[in-house]
Amino acid sequence: MPGYVESPESPYSTPELAKKYPLILITGARHIASYQSMGHNIPYLRELLPYPLLEIHPETAAKYGIDEGDWVYLETPASERSAKPRAHLTLGINPRVVSAQALWWCPEGKTYNDRAFKYNVNAAIPMKPPYGYEPIVGTRVLRGLLCRIYKA
């Protein structure tokens, strides 16, 4: 049987940090208009989903004063930058969790930083250990991070 290791930050392993960053972030949600990161630069597919979405339960959104379609800043404890997705209120998610869409890039961006990180949720995901270079697989912690959100 494989064992279970609690992630480096969670409401259970770091309860103090969870008071400042009360929500759990999962990334990796996709939309049908794009395959991985392809299709965002095709106008007919882009208009089906023009901006990256952050799925929030209506109760959680009401607590932070966020409405459907608001731009939201998303921050994790160890990251230097914040991601900026757009709120989408849905009942199909746990109130403690927010779900950000993965693999976004900005086709109309002028600079490299704009194109790569303007819409990308990876801007808010920490890269350095202990969040990166997990001993067995060597990947970054992309899911189960703590985060906080506020209206842009």
Binding site: I32, P43, Y44, L91
Partner: protein, 150 residues
């Protein structure tokens, strides 16, 4: 006889293929549609299979060629007429893009095309030599069907 495209919300999978296929066929600009699918998650009654009581519902913003079409009476230019097989047809030469029909449509199934400055609506492709509409052809769930009702 009435020709229209029917939409079955239980068969729709929300793939948006109909939107893209329709737009490619009719060469519509970005932001203008003739069919649009809207998705919503709603609370439902609890069942044995659905313990959280949630259901994903789809709605098509699509012209049903209704019998007492409010868009025809709203149009002051006479651009919207009842054509063959009871289809509500937009005569593009007469339309001045005032948008009165868009406000009158109870299904929100009409759009304003800024490129040609006319309204856009589904006419079940009667102007395309009665071919099978591309939305019906590309519907993978079988939700859209071309129907002829007497």
């Amino acid at each position: 006889m009435k020709r229209f495209i029917s939409f079955d919300p239980n068969a729709c999978v929300g793939c948006h293929s109909c939107e893209v296929a329709c737009k490619q066929f009719h060469k519509l600009p970005v932001g203008v549609f003739r069919i649009k699918i809207e998705k919503k998650i709603e609370k439902t009654a609890l069942t044995a299979f659905d313990k959280r009581g949630l259901a994903m519902k789809f709605r098509a913003r699509l012209c049903t060629q209704c019998d007492d079409a409010p868009c025809i009476s709203a149009c002051s230019m006479g651009a919207l007429v009842r054509g063959v097989f009871g289809v509500v047809v937009l005569v593009k030469e007469k339309c001045n893009g005032c948008g009165a029909c868009i406000d009158a449509c109870p299904l929100q199934a009409m759009w304003l095309n800024p490129k040609t400055n006319t309204a856009e609506k589904c006419n079940t492709c009667v102007d395309e030599h009665f071919k099978v509409p591309p939305c019906v052809k590309h519907c993978m769930g079988g939700a859209l069907k071309l129907e002829l009702k007497t």
